[in-house]
Symmetry: C2
Subunit: 222 residues, 2 copies
C-alpha cells in the first residue's frame, strides 16, 4: 500500500473538510512566516522530492528559525500535507478570477485553462508535488483531483441550467476537461514553453464549444 | 533532481529507440520466464512501490530462481525500466486491434478509450508504476507519454487527410485526448468501476465527434 511508505492515508479526512495541517497564525507577521515556510517547502520538495527534502532545508530557504517551523507544523509529513492543500488553493485562487470575468461557460473554460497554463509555467513544481502525493500522501492526492473535478462538474451543471452548455454534461465531462488541462500543462508548461498559452486555450475552447456548447449542439444535432 | 533518487535520467536514450533493458530470450521457455518476471514485477512494484519492492519479492512471485532473474536483468533499476516499457507495449497491443476495427477516426478514438478503460480495470497497477517512473526513472516516464501522444497525433493527422476530422487537428488535440483518457481511467478504472465503460466512451466520442469531427465542423462553421 502506498500509505506504508509515507503519510498514512487514514490520517487525513477523505472529504477534506478540515485537515488544515498548519496552525493558524494570529498576526500579520505570523502569516508572512507561514507563507515563507510554504513557499520554501514548495522549492525544497519540488527540487529534492519528499524523501530527500528536509525540515532544515525548508527553514534555511525560508530564512526562519527551526522553532518558527514547529510553531506551525509538527513534522515533515504535516508540512507536505499542508503544501499539497496550499497548491490546490493557489490554483483555485489563480483560476477563480479568470472564470468570473468570462462571458459564457466555454469562454470560462478557456480562461481557466489559460490561467492554469500560465500558473504552471511559474510554478512547475506543482506537478512534482501533487504527483508525489500519490505515493507520500494518497488522501491528499485524491482530494486534490476529486475536489477539482467536483468544482468543474458544478460549474458545468450551472452552465447547463443557464443554457450555455448541453443538458447532458456530466461528471465524465468534468474529468475529461481536468485531464486535458493537466496534461496540456505538463506538455506546454513543465516540459516546454515554446507554444503560446493562447494557442492552447483557443484549440481547447473550439473543441469544447463544438463538443459541449449549447448553440453548436443545436446546429449539429437538429 | 528526480534522477538523484532513482535511475539516472541519462541512462536511457530519450528517444527510446533502443533501451530494451531485458536481454532477449532465445527459447519459448525463456520467453515464458521473462513474461513471468515482468508480471511479477508489475505485482511487486504495483503493491509495494519501487523503493520497497525487491528482486527477491519478484522472483518469489514469479516462482523462478534468482539466477533466472539475472539472466535477463542486471538490477532492480533495469527490471523497473523494462516494466514501464512493457506496460506501454501492453497498452498499445491492447488498444491497437480496437483502433484497426473502427469505421472512422471518431469511432477509433471511442474504441481506444473503451479498450483502455477495460485494460486499466484489470491492470490498475499501471497507474502506480507509470506515475512512480516520474520519480524513479524520469526518462521512461517522459518516453511513455511523449510516444503515446505522438501516436495519437499521427493517427489524427492521417484521419484529417482522409477527411474524417478537421484539418486543424494538432499535437494539442493529441495531448488533450491522452489527458482525458488517462484521467477517465484513473477515475473510472482505478478509483471506482461503477460506471459502464461504454457510457464513458460514448460521452467522449460525442464530444470529439462534434469537437473535431469533419462533418460536424462543416455544419457548425459554415
Amino acid at each position: 500500500m502506498a500509505g506504508e511508505r509515507g503519510i498514512s492515508a487514514t490520517s487525513v479526512p477523505e472529504g477534506g473538510e478540515t485537515a488544515r495541517d498548519a496552525k493558524v497564525p494570529r498576526t500579520e507577521r505570523g502569516r508572512r512566516t507561514l507563507r515563507a515556510i510554504l513557499d520554501a517547502a514548495a522549492a525544497e520538495f519540488g527540487e529534492k522530492g519528499f524523501h530527500e527534502g528536509s525540515i532544515s532545508g525548508i527553514t534555511r530557504r525560508a530564512g526562519v528559525a527551526l522553532g518558527s517551523f514547529y510553531t506551525y507544523f509538527d513534522s515533515k509529513d504535516a508540512v507536505f500535507r499542508a503544501l499539497v492543500r496550499d497548491m490546490s488553493d493557489q490554483v483555485r485562487e489563480h483560476v477563480g478570477p479568470a472564470l468570473r470575468g468570462a462571458r459564457d461557460q466555454i469562454d470560462a473554460e478557456r480562461a481557466a485553462l489559460l490561467a492554469f497554463i500560465r500558473f504552471a509555467r511559474t510554478h512547475k513544481e506543482i506537478y512534482r508535488i501533487v504527483d508525489e502525493a500519490e505515493f507520500v500522501d494518497p488522501a491528499s492526492f485524491r482530494h486534490h483531483y476529486a475536489s477539482t473535478a467536483d468544482r468543474i462538474a458544478a460549474r458545468l451543471r450551472a452552465a447547463a441550467e443557464r443554457g450555455e452548455v448541453r443538458d447532458d454534461v456530466s461528471e465524465i465531462h468534468a474529468w475529461a476537461i481536468m485531464g486535458m488541462n493537466v496534461f496540456l500543462g505538463l506538455r506546454y508548461s513543465v516540459w516546454d514553453e515554446g507554444t503560446p498559452p493562447e494557442a492552447i486555450a483557443d484549440a481547447v475552447a473550439q473543441l469544447l464549444a463544438r463538443g459541449i456548447g449549447a448553440a453548436t449542439s443545436s446546429r449539429a444535432d437538429p
